[in-house]
Symmetry: C2
Subunit: 273 residues, 2 copies
Amino acid sequence: MNNAMDRLIKKIKETNNPTVMGLDPRYDMIPESIREKYSKDVEGACKAILEFNKGLIDSVCDIIPAVKPQIAFYEMFGVEGIKVFNETCKYAREKEMIVIADIKRGDIGSTAAGYSNAYLGKTALGDEKISIYDVDFVTVNPYLGIDGVKPFIDDCKEYGKGIFVLVKTSNKSSGELQDLKLEDGRTIYEKVAELVSSWGDELVGEYGYSSVGAVVGATYPIQIKELREIMPKTFFLIPGYGAQRRKSRRYSIRIQRRYRRNSKCIKKLNGSI
Amino acid sequence: MNNAMDRLIKKIKETNNPTVMGLDPRYDMIPESIREKYSKDVEGACKAILEFNKGLIDSVCDIIPAVKPQIAFYEMFGVEGIKVFNETCKYAREKEMIVIADIKRGDIGSTAAGYSNAYLGKTALGDEKISIYDVDFVTVNPYLGIDGVKPFIDDCKEYGKGIFVLVKTSNKSSGELQDLKLEDGRTIYEKVAELVSSWGDELVGEYGYSSVGAVVGATYPIQIKELREIMPKTFFLIPGYGAQRRKSRRYSIRIQRRYRRNSKCIKKLNGSI
């Protein structure tokens, strides 16, 4: 199945579950039973994070369709952290989960191509093309316009990958720019929504949704409704459902039980659901 | 001198040169005399890039005040690339150049803090705080509003660092979003300029400029003039002066001569000036 959104939707149907597990590891929230196995330096912290991530993935891979590692929480540990990011993505894909790398990259054309090659496509090296991270989706920032998004779309077409473009983010100050009204009465996020919808036209899959999706915060439910009308063929990635308060208690408890059964150690999940 | 913009301006005055050397390495444009020393895989490519970067830095460190490595061109080589990014930044700082990491990150608060800790501040690990990359400046994307920028500003204050926030980017499609008119008649980039100016209020240094700077493309000279009026205390990082056509032939030739003298091999510079 070469359309990434089709793959994601199929997986959601199979698990009957539309949630994605965030993998935003905080070393100080990882159970002591894992941390005590490793040294207290960057290398040890990264090993603890990887074990924790793998435990979470093992526990939920048959009931949750996708994971979303937030790369900042790996990048903050430098090279060792990036290794763990890569290992986590690989492990989740081995367990047949869909991987959405939350990288929110955005840059001018040639630079955006560099990012896109790293995560969705392949990096050219002489006559060879080398796969670097190989995830299913990445998140993309639209501030630079189509130049910064097109390289990702090209790789989506060539490699059967997908992107989620930031439209209305879940944070408190998202309105500072995104909610400003344009001279035609629309908000900036509505205009971005219109652009995202058009950028995805050529990538609509069998289920009727494009591999160019949108990030729309669950913290803004009224806007979600409006945006659905502007973007009828756009799949929404909706952060803010878990750690940012709108938690589903049912799933949270179910996952905690699973994890306890496997590792018998967890007290608190720090992957946001 | 604990204000980053003061350090940059002092360096510009010392060298009597307001240019920054981009370090956006393209493996296929690195001289064969360097490439042939190493294997033709990712590891070898990264070693060639590092040698090339060091050669460039050696050649210009007394005539150019700052370097701007674009992280996408390192990230595209995965973990090995990130090592070279780090080594390049370290080497440039050893040679007393100012390092502007062109990362264009932007995310919600806690995530932005992760990025900021990695590049400007320190990553907490138990009771310890560890320095990961330690550059002077990073570039930041404003689409998420102040939440996504504040963690960087906090680290600027604590660690004497600086940021350049994207206002009007140099690429062709930058106007797709940035030039749209708001209901009050201003453009989006003018509104962003106003925000950036206010975000920088507390970080104005001895020379009268804030450590919160702005990215304004040289490809849009009329807008630069307008933006100077909106942001009188904001230092501008102006891409598009070199590789994106507005090249200064004088500096380009001077640097090529220097590099030839040192390495006797270069044919074409791929660091954009």
